[in-house]
Subunit: 272 residues, 2 copies
């Protein structure tokens, strides 16, 4: 359950979307985004949220915040170059509801998820960087979780800002002109960045609170029953301790080297 | 980033799945499940995990635990009656990788997500109930999160067990022969049930720890950077307080009535 939604609406939604029709129809002009808004009963004046999707993204980076924004009845659109599906690390394909071209020029929220190998590809993709730089220049909020912080950084959107990202790549933020602050969610003016993967829930509740007040965000928290109780204390390098961190660093050495190279190249382009 | 996975594998995965090819190919015989296992580099002896998907399910109920099981390299399959997409509350369609028929008879884990309106439909669907009762009778672990607890209960799998579910429906568990225990994750013998939506992460880490040892589960926790810091304390009825709970109960009265009727009917069929 997510919210009190009447049976007729659910049936409409179900029949329209059950076979993916609405999302397939997205290939024509721009019906999918409008259909989504109508079906989700999103008010016409709802905040415009553009969530980037990209190949090799990590599903929960998107689904966590999207679950929150959906209950907030924000007008959430998934944006990418085109409407071919991108594949998450789970093998579940996700399709954009708007192309970069269709995405409104003035957004309330620009959001970028993570997934390091996909992040790295995007960090040297002129089309992605140009889109983020353009919308980010005017968006009311510029946001990310996980390695998405590197990507908005590569688009020049974190120059002179405090920020965070997935713990494995926070040391690269200064290469992009940002100052790393070791917090779960970091806000600096209109930038809000979250730590790795699961930080997306904390980020989205914090942002919803900023945008629509604490009471509205609390309501979402109760609906999602978000009173986490991790069975172990191992969610940060500090909690995990040096041995476990060293072991993980070893496994990911190749990927980390590629991330550093991508951040250095982006930093050079940005003149940092 | 999710795990150290070499570039070649990612490219293969990406090219095969980028356009949803593997999942579309699922319509033929049963290649999708095997393809998924191969692409994700799942060991052939990995635990067999069948995750039910159904129309109107809540995406994060599935994606939370699936993110954990995926990093554990469990052999995760999404199961449903057929391979038409089912639509989550987010409007994102998800396709099964195995039909009920294709799903192995002997599972390590049977898992059921929530999404109350979908749960209610499934609670009176003989095909879904027969599948769950059959696989649940032999599965090493029978599990659920959120309102999924009602569904495994309706399939007769919680008779005489301690269990939990989404806070809005825990009062219905006794109608299905279960005893509600007010905890985030409840284990009773080989049943493990989680509270609402976001409890899926806590549940999946706890189950992974039981199956493969605490150290393996801790590693996943660090990769997902799961050190939650909700910005408010409002994730349970107790935290939210009676006024906010009453307001929410009022909004959902119709849905709650339908859930109670479905649980009463299921309880009667089960002779409770």
């Amino acid at each position: 359950m997510i919210k009190a939604i009447d049976r007729r609406t659910l049936l409409t939604l179900s029949s329209l979307l059950a076979t993916g029709t609405a999302f397939s129809a997205a290939a024509d002009d721009k019906p999918a985004s409008d259909q989504r808004r109508a079906m989700m009963e999103i008010p016409p004046d709802a905040p415009k949220v553009a969530m980037l999707i990209h190949p090799k993204m990590v599903a929960i980076d998107l689904i966590g915040p999207m679950s929150v924004f959906n209950i907030m009845r924000f007008n959430v659109q998934l944006v990418w170059k085109d409407k071919t599906s991108v594949t998450t690390e789970l093998g579940i394909p996700i399709q954009a509801t708007q192309t970069f071209e269709e995405c409104p020029r003035d957004l309330d929220v620009l959001f970028v998820p993570g997934g390091l190998m996909g992040t790295i590809d995007c960090m040297s993709d002129p089309e992605v960087l140009a889109f983020l730089a353009d919308r980010g220049a005017r968006a009311k909020w510029v946001t990310s979780v996980c390695t998405g912080g590197l990507l908005i950084g590569a688009a020049g959107l974190l120059k002179g800002y405090d920020a965070t990202a997935n713990w494995t790549v926070t040391d690269l933020l200064p290469l992009l002109g940002a100052r790393h602050v070791d917090k779960r969610v970091v806000r600096d003016r209109n930038r809000m960045t979250g730590a790795g993967a699961t930080a997306g829930l904390d980020f989205a509740l914090a942002l919803s609170g900023e945008m629509r007040g604490e009471e509205a965000a609390r309501r979402v928290q109760l609906i999602l029953e978000y009173a986490p109780e991790p069975p172990f204390s191992n969610g940060t390098p500090k909690e995990a301790g040096p041995e476990r961190v060293a072991e993980m660093r070893k496994r990911r050495a190749g990927m980390d080297r590629q991330a550093r190279a991508a951040a250095q190249a982006a930093g050079k382009r940005l003149g940092i």
